[in-house]
Symmetry: C2
Subunit: 243 residues, 2 copies
């Protein structure tokens, strides 16, 4: 069996997220249909991360097994020819049979994009959150440091299962470029809504509604009810998956 | 009567062009509905140019008259609050009552965007034409000079009416930037499909299907059947209207 690794970009606007859901248009299901046509089988697709509805990807990774032996570049063209233009396979490689894009991932890099100008361009509204409040960027940067390291991130997820909420955030960068504000976050794994709740809570710090000190306490508290709102999906991009 | 001048940006993907058409979703009709709500009247909207279905604008201009006296900035906010996010009023001004955005226009600047790489990004496919043939850019630049000046552009329009086809092209620039190719065209007026047929025919020159010399003859011939195909709408942007 050949194991094909796919690097995928998508505009998530028109999809209910990555993960297969009955009667919903999802990224995984759309790619699955293309693979059914090519392989005439029903290959299981393993995705590195489950992006939410409306969230985008510049470098999602997935893999699937098939008995077919098609050169990777031909496979890429075949899949792209069957996909809608808002999903593109950027790269296709044959990898070790035991490689699993989810379990072998060492981490992920996300970016969250905020537009702070008056009018969101008709060409950008699908790809930014719009925040018009004045923001204390220094306070945001200071507070963001409380997120670094290996911690229990229960305050920053909607997942209330018994599973471990311990993850390690390795890098968090806050950058202003003209009217844009970018959060770049690298970690070894992410809980459901984790990036969006982190950004939503850091924005409360920027607006002066939560002090930097209290932000640190929210991290320690492991209590979702203390953190800020979940930032909207359209500002979030999965930049890449690390192996 | 106050005369409001609007500068408008739109993503034309979801619209059947600028101009009102019965039972079609158009830009003019969408703005008209917003103005009906604000003015409680039925104001006529004059647009500077009739962009085709799928064509975009960064600086379309329109005007309308109303007895209301709302400060321009409040008018802008009111209209934007009623428009979908793919149409934005960038600027609103009160101008002389006799100003007409169409009849007083001295010219327009259009840009046509072509992507030449292998895979069109899911974030760009709505805004570029995709051309993968290798192109002789020097030949395109040379041929484009035949379009400059005041001429009868019958070879470059689908409009077969008796009306004058004489227009003046003042600037035509061809620029490469990495995998993008941009055509920028300024003229005192444009016929139906004129920019798209010009670009479509210049691309035939780039592909070596029409010689530079023959391109000059096509301009002189005033015969649409000799020119190349109409380039697709999604690469075309109305950049600005000149007054």
């Amino acid at each position: 069996m050949a194991n094909y690794k796919l690097t995928i970009a998508y505009d998530g606007t028109e999809y209910k997220g990555w993960q297969y859901q009955p009667d919903q248009r999802t990224i995984q299901e759309t790619i699955h249909r293309a693979l059914q046509v090519i392989t005439k089988k029903n290959p299981k697709i393993y995705g590195a991360g489950r992006t939410d509805a409306g969230v985008h990807a510049l470098g999602q990774v997935a893999n699937f097994h098939t008995k077919l032996s098609i050169p990777p570049d031909s496979m890429k063209k075949a899949i792209n020819s069957l996909l809608p233009p808002d999903i593109r396979i950027l790269k296709c490689e044959i990898v070790e049979e035991r490689f699993n894009s989810r379990f072998h991932s060492k981490g992920k890099v996300y970016e969250y994009r905020i537009y702070r100008g008056e009018i969101v361009s008709p060409f950008h509204y699908r790809y930014v959150a719009h925040v018009t409040n004045s923001l204390d960027i220094i306070a945001i940067k200071e507070a963001s440091k409380f997120l670094l390291g290996e911690k229990d991130f229960s305050s920053f997820t909607s997942d209330s299962s018994w599973k471990s909420k311990v993850r390690k955030i390795e890098i968090i960068e806050v950058n202003e470029e003209e009217e844009m504000l970018y959060f770049k976050i690298r970690g070894n794994g992410f809980l459901k809504y984790m990036v969006r709740i982190m950004v939503g809570t850091l924005l409360e710090v920027g607006k002066g509604k939560i002090s930097t000190e209290d932000f640190g306490k929210i991290v320690e508290a492991k209590d979702r009810t203390l953190a800020g709102p979940t930032a909207p999906p359209q500002g979030l991009f999965l930049l890449r998956v690390l192996y």
